[in-house]
């Protein structure tokens, strides 16, 4: 089987041709990093998932989250489905664990910003006004 990829390791963006047989043969790469990238992409492509989840009583209605490490690509949509059913409550700090050890990967889903409550947002504004 043959596959084509664009290398993203450096701005050069080499067009890689990969032959997948017993061994994986990479052509078109100008450096070793490109070869490693291609092999990783073919055998076990991984991505960080960043998305939002619902939050009750927060300054905004959703809070951004991410996986703490790249996860295999095939888990992206199942994880999105799982996250669509989750709703947390404000306040939460940054780095708050929303899901732990997802798909037994030793990877968590955490918030990427703190989210204060609606009331608190109002309060800080009023304190500011009185000063």
């Amino acid at each position: 089987m043959k596959k084509e990829l664009t290398c993203i390791v450096c701005p050069l963006g080499c067009s890689l041709e990969i032959e997948i047989g017993e061994d994986i043969i990479v052509k078109g790469n100008k450096c070793e990093k490109g070869k490693n990238y291609a092999i990783e992409e073919i055998t076990n492509p991984k991505r960080i998932l960043t998305t939002t989840i619902k939050i009750k009583n927060g300054k905004y209605k959703v809070v951004p989250v991410k996986t703490t490490a790249p996860i295999p690509k095939e888990y992206i949509f199942p994880l999105l489905e799982k996250l669509s059913e989750i709703e947390i409550s404000a306040p939460v700090p940054i780095g708050y664990k929303v899901l732990e050890n997802i798909f037994q990967l030793s990877i968590d889903v955490i918030t990427t910003r703190p989210m204060e409550t609606k009331e608190n947002t109002r309060k800080t504004k009023e304190t500011k006004k009185s000063t």
Binding site: G13, L49, T50, T51, T52, Y60, K66
Partner: protein, 414 residues
């Protein structure tokens, strides 16, 4: 109401945040004026990773990157932050008029740092004909809606322009359950970073139509579809070959424009190539005591560079107030060949420290050579295996190569 402070920073995004810290470290009183309801600027809506690889040597999301600076700011009692505050006027004497919920403010200051960011090109700028239905958004507005407000702009989305925000939004919308029909790019090459092309489009089989454009928008209440057509080598659409694409949303990711309306009001000259002000290596505009950094200086592709520009602008503003900048001579830097822009555009002598230069090229080019000359005398050259319009070139030059040049010129040749 009156207010006096050493330095006013207009805009509390990544550039303004780092500028405030770097000037506060040096003991000045700082006031950040931010028109939004929180600090962080566009980073708050850039929830994807890819930030901080240069500055923090680790990969962060936009909000995480912003949070590090917002936390840092809290340590400085000499930084004051006014949110939901709009600067409406500036005089040549550096008096700022600002409006917020407390009233109208007249702010006197010794130095001003502009970190106002940029805005997006709109349908009107692009002059896309057709009807005027709901469902036409700039990519950044859509990003705000999805990532901060939690709402999808539509179900079936077409993106015009292959800039990074458009590519990132293609994946985001896909992840949030929308259908992304494709990305249309007028130029023969993509506008975004390779990483984004691969991970945002190729991963999800979202087609990219190069050398195409949207020639007509259809739909009465809501977008019902668009006509796209190929463009010739001069960028003119070949409407005979137009093709209908059904969609309910059109996102525009067709370029960013630095916001410098306030600078223009006080006649600070702007560089038509960057659409930001002309600056020297201190990031000082051609008006003393007024500095510029971040995307209002030039559109950057990495926030790390924005941060570095902010730090430099903050440091320079303090030096200016302390009378530590003594300029004996100034020369204008010319560019040539495949170079589209350079920042800084001026060198102020004497040069005491390394200078970081930022460039963009006009066209993609392989094995490119960047040369610095003075009056046609070759001073130094840098080689690049490949250069692309989407990717900014950043080089650091030591002062010994930059001593008292009459006509400095950078050129990019094959």
């Amino acid at each position: 109401m009156q207010k006096e402070v050493d330095i006013v920073i207009i805009g509390g995004g990544p550039a303004g945040l780092s500028a405030s810290i770097s000037s506060a470290e040096r003991g000045k009183s700082i006031l950040i004026l931010e028109r939004n309801e929180e600090l962080g600027g566009v980073l708050n809506q850039c929830i994807h990773p890819g930030f901080g690889l240069i500055y923090f040597k680790e990969e962060l999301t936009g909000p995480e990157y912003a949070y590090r600076f917002i936390k840092e700011i809290e340590k400085y009692p000499n930084i004051e932050v006014w949110l939901e505050t709009m600067v409406v006027d500036i005089t040549n004497e550096k008096e700022i008029t600002a409006i917020n919920k407390d009233g109208i403010w007249k702010i006197k200051t010794k130095a001003i740092i502009f970190s106002t960011g940029c805005r997006e090109r709109t349908r009107g700028n692009l002059q896309i004909p057709g009807t005027r239905p709901a469902g036409i958004y700039t990519a950044g507005t859509a990003q705000r809606l999805v990532n901060i407000e939690g709402y999808l702009p539509g179900e079936k989305i077409l993106i015009l322009g292959s800039g990074d925000i458009g590519l990132i939004m293609a994946r985001r919308l896909k992840w949030e359950g929308a259908e992304v029909i494709g990305v249309i790019e007028k130029l023969p090459y993509p506008g975004g970073l390779t990483r984004n092309l691969v991970q945002c489009l190729e991963d999800y089989n979202i087609p990219l139509y190069l050398k195409h454009t949207v020639v007509e928008i259809l739909g009465k209440d809501r977008v019902e579809g668009v006509y796209i057509a190929p463009v010739d080598d001069y960028g003119n659409p070949i409407t005979d070959n137009k093709k209908f694409i059904e969609c309910d949303t059109l996102l525009l990711s067709a370029g960013l424009i630095p916001e410098n309306d306030l600078l223009e009001n006080i006649n600070i000259p702007l560089d038509p190539r960057t659409q930001g002000p002309y600056v020297d290596q201190y990031l000082s505009t051609l008006k003393e005591g007024i500095f510029s950094c971040g995307n209002s200086l030039l559109v950057n592709d990495l926030v790390d560079y924005v941060t570095l520009q902010g730090i430099l602008a903050g440091k320079s503003a303090v030096r200016y107030i302390n009378n530590e900048i003594n300029i004996e001579k100034r020369s204008h830097i010319e560019i040539d060949g495949n170079l589209r822009l350079v920042v800084p555009q001026y060198l102020s002598y004497p040069i005491l420290e390394d200078i970081t230069f930022y460039f963009r090229v006009k066209e993609p080019q392989k094995s490119a050579i960047l040369t610095l000359k003075d009056n046609d005398k070759r001073i130094k050259e840098w080689r690049f295996p490949v250069v692309k319009p989407a990717e900014m070139i950043v080089i650091k030059v030591k002062p010994e190569f930059l001593r008292y040049m009459e006509n400095p010129k950078f050129s990019m040749e094959g």
